[in-house]
């Protein structure tokens, strides 16, 4: 019997007991829905993490000043200005696996160019910054080492700032004023887009560290050579944890922290922060995988059960088919196709349900909903396999029936 006819006849058998068939499919529907949702949520979360890592730069740790206590009041993290250029240089020189240590200062400011002005964030940086953040200029150049050393009043604009101050014009060699200091524009950064937290990362300007410290941001960095924070970039992910240990010890030494004195800095592994999100997504995925496995198993058993009932109910039909010339393997394939059709329909319904669930979870979690065609193919394949696996025993029972017995059965 040809496949299309077999499927058509299977569909008519399924439709003859529509409600029963639907209830039988339910396990498969839930199982496949869980698979689809699992894959979608898993890849959505991975996508989010990738985006975070991409926008920060990979294998990055950040060192921030610790809190200070003034007259019994603890002022919170970052209040101290305990980190210096030299700390960054020492980290870069002495810690294995560190490929960039970028000290920086930051603040908010108004920038003016001609008749336009714009409120933005200003960063004082050195050239390690570009490497650490995996972010470079698109137009013009970045700072040369002399400019960094002297703290020249040159500036690199973020895309958003360049657009707002100069529109379509070329900003290179133009002058922008920051707190009345005229900076010469030497470059424009490549666009970076939104951060994982929704900030516009292109709304920013960069100046050499010393220029920022002395001329613009000043107030928090009174102590000579002190910086706000330091980005540390490692060559490989597995070097981050041991590297942080070594940096901690190095900075304790340099800052003369002994015994149980509190550290005046703290180090965070940014990759880890991103990984936390992926870990919770993984937990959800595991849970869904368990639901999927159990549902597919239960669904498969349901199909086996209903197919056994169907074989019993249709014993005479089987006997007749054998009498008019069906071979045992024709009967086997008829019931296998019926079971597979049943489970595949369940699979298709499950994809619809799973896509809906994934969509709402994605909306809730704020990451893109990703229903991949691979996931759909896997889900359909899985449900068909369940049908074949659990349909085989009933189908074999049908094929092994003795035609005489089967015809006699009431």
């Amino acid at each position: 019997m040809r496949l299309i006819e077999a499927i058509r006849s299977a569909l008519s058998a399924i439709m003859a007991n529509a409600l029963r068939s639907l209830l039988t499919m339910l396990g498969i529907v839930i199982g496949v829905a869980a698979v689809i949702a699992m894959v979608a949520i898993g890849s959505g979360a991975r996508n989010l993490v990738d985006r975070q890592i991409r926008s920060l730069g990979a294998n990055l740790a950040i060192i921030t000043p610790g809190n200070v206590t003034q007259g019994g009041a603890r002022l919170g993290a970052g209040a101290a200005s305990s980190l210096t250029d030299d700390d960054a240089q020492a980290i870069k020189n002495e810690i294995d696996g560190v490929i960039a240590a970028a000290p920086f200062v930051q603040g908010g400011t108004q920038v003016v160019a001609g008749g336009n002005n714009w409120a933005t964030r200003i960063y004082g940086i050195d050239n390690d910054w570009f490497e650490a953040r995996e972010w470079d200029v698109a137009v013009g150049r970045n700072f040369d080492p002399e400019e960094i050393r002297r703290g020249d009043i040159v500036v690199i604009l973020g895309q958003t700032v360049a657009r707002n101050l100069f529109g379509e014009d070329d900003p290179i060699d133009q002058t922008v004023r920051v707190r009345n200091v005229p900076f010469r524009v030497i470059g424009v950064m490549a666009p970076k887009g939104q951060s994982a937290f929704g900030q516009d990362q292109d709304d920013v300007i960069f100046v050499p560290l010393d220029a920022g410290r002395r001329r613009v941001i000043g107030r928090n960095y009174a102590k000579d050579g002190s910086v706000g924070s330091i980005f540390v970039k490692f060559a490989r992910e597995e070097e981050i944890e041991p590297g942080i240990e070594l940096i901690t010890r190095l900075l304790q030494q340099r800052h003369r922290i002994v015994g149980d004195q509190e550290d005046d800095f703290s180090i965070r592994n940014l990759t880890e922060i991103a990984n936390t999100a992926s870990a919770s997504a993984n937990t959800l995925s595991m849970l869904l995988a368990a639901v999927a496995a159990v549902s597919l198993l239960v669904g498969g058993i349901g199909i086996m059960n209903i197919m056994l009932v169907s074989v019993t109910e249709r014993t005479r039909e089987i006997g007749l088919r054998l009498a008019v010339g069906a071979r045992p393997r024709d009967i086997l394939s008829q019931f296998l196709i019926e079971a597979t059709t049943l489970s595949t329909i369940g699979g298709i319904l499950g994809i619809a349900l799973g896509a809906t669930v994934a969509y709402f979870v994605a909306q809730l979690a704020g990451w893109p909903s990703l229903i991949s065609s691979e996931a759909i193919a896997v889900a359909v394949g899985f449900s068909a396999l369940v049908g074949i696996f659990f349909g085989f025993y009933p189908a074999q029972r049908a094929a092994k029936l003795d035609p005489i017995e089967a015809l006699r059965r009431e």
Binding site: S12, R316, R321, V324, R329, D330, L407
Partner: protein, 238 residues
């Protein structure tokens, strides 16, 4: 050359209570074009005989040739192919597929013979025409009377042009008037050359055949030629 040839046909069942000899050394020939009634009380072996010549079962001992094929040597697939091409079955309970319309039921043997859709449809329609049911092709069994259902079953039995029509109590579930109609149809088919073996316990039905074989205790006890009783054709045959 006889269509059916059995030599020393023996069928023994191994049951819990011991061995039961259902059929004991049956030697029979049925010629092409004959109309044979097989009779006997229940337990006489007539059903076993029918299952054997219908290729639904294999003999414990002995030989059976159907249309020159040694049946006892065939495996399950070979038996299926032989049933498909050489035998048309008509059952007491019609055994139509309830979800399928008349023409679909008639097409069934051709599905397993691998006939393509269009040829199947045409041949099924002409078989239905042959039994006077062309107008009911798309009715389901539930929408047909008992006699009409049995005629659909006869159309199904004929559609692969088998050499043998094997009927097991074909009138057992019908009232006497309808039974007459079915028997008239059998006689008509037989006159056109279809070989028919009809198993019944009803002497009135047996009288319509040309030859009557009586079984008892697994053996043939009577084998006579007779003047067949002509079935009365009712007018309501459509």
């Amino acid at each position: 050359m006889a269509l059916i040839e059995t030599r020393g046909l023996r069928r023994v069942y191994d049951l819990d209570g011991g061995r039961v000899v259902a059929l004991d050394h049956v030697d029979l020939d049925v010629a092409q074009g004959d109309f044979v009634a097989v009779m006997g009380p229940s337990g006489s072996g007539k059903s076993t005989f029918m299952n054997l010549i219908g290729c639904l079962d294999r003999p414990t001992e002995g030989h059976y040739r159907l249309a020159d094929t040694a049946v006892e040597k065939l495996d399950a697939d070979g038996l299926a192919a032989l049933r498909n091409r050489q035998i048309g079955f008509v059952f007491q309970q019609f055994n139509l597929l309830p979800r399928v319309d008349a023409i679909g039921n008639v097409e069934l043997p051709m599905v397993y013979a691998g006939v393509d859709r269009r040829a199947r449809h045409e041949r099924a329609l002409s078989a239905l025409e042959r039994v006077g049911l062309a107008g009911r092709a798309h009715h389901r069994p539930m929408q047909l009377s008992g006699g009409q259902q049995q005629r659909v079953a006869i159309a199904r039995a004929l559609v692969n042009r088998p050499s043998l029509l094997l009927a097991d109590e074909p009138t057992g579930a019908l009232d006497s008037r309808t039974a007459e109609e079915i028997l008239a149809l059998f006689q008509e088919l037989n006159r056109e050359g279809v070989t028919i073996v009809l198993v019944t316990h009803d002497a009135d039905v047996g009288r319509h055949a040309r030859r009557l074989i009586r079984f008892r205790d697994g053996r043939v006890i009577e084998d006579i030629r007779q003047q067949p009783l002509e079935a009365r054709r009712e007018e309501a045959l459509t």
